[in-house]
């Protein structure tokens, strides 16, 4: 009798997962990201957020199960195209991910040809949306960053700025947009493009110090560039500089923890202060899930990844309910999105851009990140004039 009971229990246990998911429709969601190579850090950070987004969606929607299929594009445009084609052949309903405008461009072209929605937060280049692809969407464009940087400079009353920027596509475009915005405000602008491989920034910062004599340094690059620029500035100490401002990957808890000597008073774009203050139930759930999965505080990459996954999962569910998913209706459904997300309002225009995207500026102060711009979102006062040295 005991053995029969044991067999029945074993059979039930065996069938239980099948029973629970038997009613759930499964959808494959492709993720193409740089998990190795020069962009591995940002690619992995974004994937963490996407994974959390999918996990939370599945938890809230037992009738729909989204399964993530991830392919590493190795930070290479050619491999990104191959990844998209492979994902398409595996039957994914949409693709999310991508980092770097030069990689996202060809990858999203391939997705568009395959009739698949491509959703990203990793490419701010204007040419991405200028193509007017039906299936391309992004949550954040260059304009949101330009507005934040130029807005901060205007509030500071900056009259001259030296823009030190990487010659990569997205950074060049953003630097040019900031320069244009600052010139329109009658500020003097000096441009200093740098090769992404350089490590010694002293010759550039010396030009800022002796030739430009600017009031502010604007850095448009990536983490390793910021460290190099700040170290050079700390050595040369340009006397006229009153503020050092960067963009993404700078006002983060990781930079505060890893480079405590370099970060004080430095500004960067930040959606949240640190320690992170998630006030909404959604934000708290995201933070809890993130910490449970990765045993660390969520950062901005995780937030963007989460939001792009959230938008896609919701749109997949809606398109499925309408029966349009298999007929190419997902792009229309994504276009109908009107969401207040962790990165602010999201709605897409006809080119797939999110014109509502608005960055905030944070400042490193005593190991914390204080939101200082715009005034309505500020969590503290900015230290100005103040430099890291």
């Amino acid at each position: 009798m005991k053995s029969i009971l044991r067999q029945i229990v074993a059979l039930l246990l065996l069938l239980a997962p099948g029973l629970s998911t038997a009613d759930a429709k499964e959808f494959l969601l492709g993720a193409e990201l740089p998990l190795t190579g020069s962009l591995a850090r940002v690619g992995n950070g974004t994937l963490e957020g996407i994974t959390v987004g999918v996990e939370i969606f599945n938890r809230h929607n037992p009738s729909h199960k989204v399964k993530l299929v991830t392919i590493d594009d190795e930070s290479s445009p050619a491999k990104a195209v191959a990844a998209v084609e492979k994902l398409a052949s595996q039957g994914v309903v949409a693709i999310t991910g991508g980092y770097g405008s030069n990689i996202i461009g060809p990858a999203s072209d391939a997705a568009n040809k395959a009739g698949l929605v491509y959703m990203t937060s990793g490419g701010v280049g204007n040419e991405l949306t200028a193509r007017g692809l039906k299936h391309f969407f992004r949550t954040n464009g260059s304009a949101g960053y330009t507005k934040a940087m130029a807005g901060l400079f205007t509030d500071m009353g900056i009259k001259s700025v030296s823009i030190v920027y990487s010659t990569k596509e997205a950074t060049t475009e953003l630097a040019n947009d900031v320069a244009k915005a600052m010139r329109a405000r009658k500020a003097k602008v000096a441009m200093h493009p740098f090769d992404p491989t350089i490590t010694d920034f002293k010759p550039i910062i010396n030009k800022v110090k002796l030739q430009d004599r600017s009031e502010a340094i604007a850095m448009v690059g990536y983490e390793n560039d910021y460290v190099g620029i700040l170290r050079a500035a700390k050595v040369l100490r340009p006397a006229t500089v009153k503020a050092v401002v960067g963009v993404w990957s700078l006002a983060t808890p990781k930079m505060a923890a890893d480079f405590p000597d370099l970060m004080p008073n430095v500004y960067g774009t930040a959606m949240l202060p640190y320690p992170a203050g998630f006030r909404t139930a959604e934000g708290k759930e995201f933070a809890d899930s993130y910490k449970r999965l990765y045993r660390k505080e969520p950062d901005y990459l995780g937030q963007f990844g989460y939001v792009q996954a959230q938008i896609l999962c919701e749109a997949i569910k809606r398109a499925d309910a309408k029966g349009t998913l298999a007929k190419g209706g997902l792009a229309d459904e994504v276009r109908r999105t009107r969401l207040n997300t962790l990165i602010g309002q999201v709605a897409f225009d006809k080119n797939g851009d999110n014109p509502l995207f608005q960055q905030r500026m944070g400042q490193h102060q005593n190991g914390r990140i204080i939101i200082v711009w715009p005034k309505e979102s500020a969590t503290g006062k900015m230290n100005y004039p103040a430099v890291p040295w």
């Binding site: 998990l35 190795t36 190579g37 020069s38 591995a40 850090r41 690619g43 992995n44 930070s75 010659t167 200093h192 493009p193 740098f194 090769d195 491989t197 350089i198 490590t199 010694d200 002293k202 010759p203 550039i204 010396n206 030009k207 002796l210 030739q211 983490e223 390793n224 460290v227 190099g228 170290r231 700390k234 050595v235 040369l236 100490r237 990781k254 890893d258 480079f259 405590p260 000597d261």
Partner: protein, 290 residues
Amino acid sequence: MTALILQSLYSGLLSGGSYALIALGLALVFGTMKIINLAHGEMVLLSAYMAYVMENRLAVNPLLATPLALVVACLIAVVVYFLVSRISRNRELNSLILTFGIGIILTNAALIIWSADIHSTSAPGFQEPVVLGPLYSMRSELGFFVASMVLVAALWWWLSRSWYGRAVRAVSSNRDAAKLMGINPHRTEVVSFVVAGILASVAGVAIYSTGVIQPALGASLTTKAFIITVLAGIGSIPGVLVGAVLIGVVEALTVTLYSSAIQELTGMALFLLVLFVLPNGLFGAARRRG
């Protein structure tokens, strides 16, 4: 303008010193065994990660990680040599492919173990400015420039004056004749690789102490080291220093006089120009014909 150019020359000189430190190990193995170790940059990188581990886990000065870095780099060097020595045909070409593969494995190992995050020392003192009149540098840059000079001199002395150095040159010149003279070619080649590992370990600790490391860095270090080795002329250790400083200075002057956007391009243009005028590099001996 004078102040800008002076600073440029100074920065270029210091950068050249650090380039030389990275290139020495590759130049030694290339010069003595005609093996282009494309995993050399990764050996340097792993040494840098040892400095990171020591500082991060044990909270010690990264310089104290040098012995650990030395052990790791030398172990990898011996493994690379062991694998290369198994190649029986077309060793020059096949070792290139083999070491390239080892480099990829080491890069991905670093990615798995330490993630893709950037790391650099936060130890006090390394980034403090040193001001010599109108010239500015970090304390660590100056320190490692001096270390680079010392290592170039030591390596040159070892190759030209020590018994093992002479043995390395003898094996490089004629393996069979060296064998007849009682030299064990295998042991001599292992010694070459181990010395390259020692040089890589110092370079790794230097890179971690002055700059930023991440898993993808290894390939670019190998490329820079290879360019300098070829520019110097195969087998020339002083040539490595001259070539490295030349590249460093040209790059820095390009930034000051024009734009940093083309500094790598200028370095490559100089490399091609030198090879066009001097096909054996700056200090390479002309190959015997016939």
